[in-house]
Amino acid sequence: MQAKERNVVRYAGYVLFTVLGFLAAILINWLFPQMDKTVTFQSYQTIFGKMDAGTLLRIVLVILVIGFTVSGALAFRDEEKRKKYIDRAKFRFAMGILIAVLDITGTKMKILPQPFFPGPAEILAPFLEEGDFILTNTLYSLRLYIFGFSFGVLFGIGTGILIGWFEKAYYWISPVLNIAGVIPAVAWMPFALTLFPTPFTAAVFLIVICAWFPIASLTAMGIQSTPRAQYEAAKILGGNTAYLLFHEAIPNAMPQIFTGISTANANAFTTLVMAEMLGQPGGLGYYINLAKVWSSYYKVFAAILIMAVLFSIILKLVGRIEKYVLRWQRGIVK
């Protein structure tokens, strides 16, 4: 009984340690004097009342503190999640401290070279200043990604199956794939812009192209690597060609298909931002370009922050799908 209580106290210590860095960041933002007088924060009207960027930073930090406390409490019951949480405590503490340090050096004392290294509060300022505009651009990027990537995946898997299954298709298509695949997708930009009716469809085309190559080649490899014995087992059971393809070759290729999808995802993010920077009427890349022209580096950082969060969420979702589809591998692959 006593040992159990000790465990609870120890775990609570870890939760406290996790949020301690963020708590420190809140206190520093709140209590540390603004020594550099050139910095002024404007107040903006929001749906939560009037606030400035400093307040927004504190709100974000409070949300992080509450979030990590709640997730810590929820993780307590599951041993694996608990271990993971404890393992991450140090890193999260360091994150909080880093925010505090950047706040002092970037905003409060302004000893970092300006305007290239704004403090955390300034990075959040654009969300108050032009939140709607950022949201519009984020949605533009997201739409571009969803269209481009889903067509890329479909097209890539389709081509991969063709090449992997039919020898004729392998002979004719794979050299084209190997030559065209190494060209960075943005190189097609000028061509795409003239060929497609709108900049949006041109960018979708580029993302499709960049996702197509890794997915197609890995799908083909996965299909070709299906052991002959597996086909024979299926033939003995009465399977026809369609059965061999859809119930043997494709499931067998699934792990490689997902490797292709992960690679394609990284390509797609790059191509997406590059395409937006080179000639799109919206999107986060477009926003960065716009901010750069006015030397508003804090806005560039704001856009980068959104990309980090958005792309991480996308990767996490894809990871979830992969984990579900490949659940039969649990225990084989570490």
Binding site: K235, I236, L237, G238, Y243, P251
Partner: protein, 256 residues
């Protein structure tokens, strides 16, 4: 006769050189019979099974299954492989159901899935994946997967070769039980003389290079057989002698 093998020859061409694998194989199997083929490795046992199931084609001669020439694989001729060859991405239940799905008769036969899982003694493992099973369990899933198609001939290619002797004995009994219940014809390839004597009505002895049938021995011991019985041991000895193993003297560890 459920199966008739007539003057079958099989050669491969390897590096422009012809390798004779099977020469003039003649064999007939009666319905419900259990026949074992024993022989050292390289005597073409597996090739013969592949010809029978239709995974491979003979150069000369013909194989008749229920009076019709074997042209391609058919679910009526089940095959248990040396390796279980289960579908790694499917649960036990779905592996067993694979044959029904492949033949598009899943809906009308789905109640059989549990029946066959129970038959091979894997109740409770329906939702497990192949890599979570032991070798013996996986091989039993493979047996259930073959049986659900209700084959009329089951060929077994050393399915117990990789298993420990307890698991092997267990699966041997299970197979005999199934054979009795369904009057299923079985053709087993094995290295193990004990296994052949324990299970078969007839034992076919093959010799290698080129693989041909050397002798066919009738086993007249009534089932269930006693592995320690006098008749069992004398037949076992006789078979081992044919392979020149019975009289081999143990090598002394040292000499004076």
């Amino acid at each position: 006769m459920i199966l008739k093998i007539e003057h079958v020859n099989r050669q491969y061409t390897e590096d422009e050189r012809s390798v004779e694998v099977l020469r003039d194989i003649n064999l007939e199997l009666k319905e419900g019979e259990f026949v074992s083929i024993i022989g050292t490795s390289g005597c073409g046992k597996t090739t013969l099974l592949r010809l029978i199931t239709g995974l491979d084609k003979a150069n000369e001669g013909r194989i008749l299954f229920q009076g019709e020439e074997v042209a391609s694989p058919h679910y009526k001729r089940g095959y248990i492989f040396q390796q279980h060859n289960l579908f790694q991405w499917l649960t036990v239940e779905k592996n067993v159901a694979a044959g029904l799905k492949a033949r598009h008769v899943f809906k009308e036969n789905r109640q059989n899935i549990q029946k066959y899982i129970d038959l091979v003694g894997l109740k409770g493992f329906e939702k497990s994946y192949p890599h979570q099973l032991s070798g013996g369990m996986a091989q039993r899933v493979a047996i259930a997967r073959a049986l659900i198609n209700e084959p009329e001939l089951l060929v077994l290619d050393e399915p117990m070769g990789a298993l420990d002797s307890f698991t092997r004995a267990d699966i041997q009994d299970k197979l005999l039980e199934i054979r009795k219940e369904k009057n299923l014809t079985m053709l087993l390839v094995t290295h193990d003389v004990d296994e052949a004597v324990y299970m078969s009505d007839r034992i076919v002895i093959m010799t290698p290079r080129p693989g041909k049938i050397n002798e066919i021995i009738d086993v007249k011991i009534p089932y269930p057989r006693n592995r320690g019985g006098v008749e069992f041991l004398s037949l076992r000895r006789k078979l081992l002698e044919k392979f020149d193993l019975a009289n081999a003297q143990p090598q002394p560890e040292y000499m004076i």
